[in-house]
Symmetry: C2
Subunit: 394 residues, 2 copies
């Protein structure tokens, strides 16, 4: 979707492999309002360290992103490489270098091939167009099998406000975002601190609710840029109707992207929502849901289309959450398979097995210890996950 | 190894499949001193609940163990089944029912076929022999590919004291023991509280240091029985030389069994020791080692024989342990691959890749934040793990 103020471009710079888009640029006609959320890992890639510093000003005008090399664990050389690339792009665009954000994804521990990027900068800038919005989604793919984009339009004080998002991520996906990049371009007129608040909350409810393999990466970045060209009255407070409309659209967009990531989880054949209901607290519910969603045994049973609720209750048992094992109910979609800790028998299991044959289904665990609930989105663990990851670097 | 006082027996009761040993009995000529450690899961199988209560008296004379059905999540019927079986065995052996321990392993949520077990009791008791010590090791196998036994002899005050151990476990193995059964028979003369102390510590350093897939089960039990027939002076204190000799032999025995479990991890082709050294505290070291040892991405790289240290440092980054990413060293066996957070280059990587081709190797992570260290034992994550677990129940 074309969003007023933004142009996009992507080229094949040969960073890791030839003849595939691996370098992307997003550019705003003028400095955009910017907000971002980064990996919580103690090990942060050079571009993350650079962006964290720069985004504090609440503005950015360009984003340079590459796949192939993560520029993580690359020390001072890696930081210099990030700075060099941002300088080259700033010069070519004739903008302040501090308005350039950088993102990288790919193999950890290898240095960024700065010359290849330098050679590509002119083409990259030359190809900028508002029509090229899906090119960057392709350039940031690593083990992703499909590009991921989403769009929303919301109406704020009679103005159509557009949001366009792109994301990548397929493995090393857990809470706290993991090898996950997400970029949102909007024409909303919005204050930086409000955008940051809405973005942080939306990330918490979307990208931080998905898990492919429990791993978190060094490079996770979600960046939101607002060109402020939609002519809506500036959103400058949290609790107004306009602000809530925008926040809802942003959260919905990010959840859409997050679910695309899980559905494209490395080797995944199923998209599964783990719902824990009637827990003592939301924290309990989330912890229980996350433990189930990350269990290799549970995820392998999903792959095998086996309604093996014993693995679900075993994961629940080690989750650290308090409950009575003789009170738990478990359902696959609307098929209750376990009532008060006991299996309901062969007929229920047959129906549950039918649910598991679907590509998308939910597992609901009723703890009966309170009124709180939470959801985590996960996928199955397949033979292909192993194959993909056993030789990712080769 | 024959241990004075103990007899063993195993039969095929057809609990889940025909023509395989699935019911075992260990019997001591007189009530043995007993100590045990059980699963920390909130969901505990019926036999675990029963044993926990009974073992408090510090004595046991018989252990009845079955594979095929875990008798977990089976409610009141499951508890009655465990009681019925223990009653049948007590009657056949003519001993006090409270001296019978029960253990089960297998599928969660199915009821124990009590009649099949009842039909097998006479054969089981009739076959008891001190020579049959490895039969029970076969009867408790589920996805295990090999039976697991170990033996030690230590000299206490001039007496040879024997320890014979059997164990099972291949998946659902994490800290806190998981679907893991371990039984130790010794002829040591030892007080119950001292045996319990040494057993708890030895379990902490062995079975609780291994991980196959991060999952913990409902049935984990480690039971130690002492026939007191070795004629050694009774070990009745913790801090004597005799006590330390026995404790060391017990710990060594359990570590042997624990490593056999990891080496036989479902689908495993590699046995890997993750060592974290120079950490601020032992807790930090263990937490870091455990996070690395449980990472699906790290374990898949081991399977692929890929010296992908980026995944190791990424796991370290999300472990919650404090360190400086520019100070970390990583070595595979004695090949240092990363120094101060940076890769040492192609030659080191080639040598590290050679290390990974071995069936057994270690990964050492030097945090340089203190003097503490810890080790966790893990295996790789292979295509066969998925295949085994995708259709375990069928």
């Amino acid at each position: 979707m074309i969003v007023n103020g933004f142009k996009y471009s992507a080229v094949s710079a040969g960073i890791r492999k030839k003849d595939r888009l691996d370098l992307g640029l997003i550019y705003c006609d003028k400095p955009a309002i910017a907000a971002a959320v980064f990996t919580t890992s103690r090990v942060k890639a050079a571009p993350v360290l650079l962006d964290m510093e720069r985004v504090r000003q609440g503005k950015a005008q360009a984003l340079l992103v590459n796949s192939g090399v993560a520029n993580a664990c690359t020390g001072e050389i890696g930081m210099q490489a990030a700075l060099t690339c941002s300088g080259l792009i700033a010069a070519a665009l004739n903008i302040d270098e501090n308005l350039v954000q950088i993102a990288s994804t790919g193999v950890i521990g290898e240095q960024l091939p700065v010359e290849k990027i330098a050679d590509a900068v002119d083409d990259l800038v030359g190809n900028l167009s508002s029509d090229n919005y899906d090119h960057v989604a392709r350039a940031i793919m690593t083990t992703d099998t499909v590009p991921k984009t989403a769009e929303r339009v919301c109406s704020i004080a009679g103005c159509d406000v557009k949001l366009f998002g792109i994301a990548k991520g397929a493995g090393m996906i857990m809470p706290d975002m993991a090898t996950m990049l997400g970029f949102v371009m909007t024409d909303a007129d919005i204050a930086a601190d409000i955008l940051q608040h809405h973005l942080s909350l939306a990330v918490k409810l979307s990208f931080n609710r998905i898990t492919v393999d429990g791993d978190t990466s060094t490079n996770d970045t979600v960046l939101a840029l607002a060109s402020c060209e939609a002519s809506n009255p500036e959103i400058d407070a949290l609790d107004t109707g306009d602000s809530r409309i925008f926040a809802a659209a942003l959260a919905d967009l990010l959840k859409d992207l997050a679910l695309q990531i899980v559905a494209d989880g490395e080797g995944a054949t199923k998209l599964v929502t783990i719902k824990v209901v009637n827990a003592q607290s939301e924290k309990d519910a989330e912890q229980a849901a996350r433990t189930i969603a990350n269990s290799s045994l549970v995820k392998t049973a999903f792959f095998g289309e086996d309604a093996n609720w014993g693995r679900i209750i075993a994961a629940l048992g080690r989750s650290g959450v308090e409950f009575d094992q003789n009170s738990v109910d478990i359902a696959f979609d609307d098929v209750v398979l376990v009532r008060d800790g006991l299996a309901l028998g062969a007929a229920a299991e047959t129906r549950a097995t039918e649910v598991l044959k679907q590509k998308t289904f939910s597992v609901t665990v009723d703890l009966k210890t309170g009124q709180a609930g939470s959801e985590i989105y996960t996928c199955d663990l397949s033979v292909d996950y192993i194959k993909i990851n056993a030789d990712y670097r080769s």
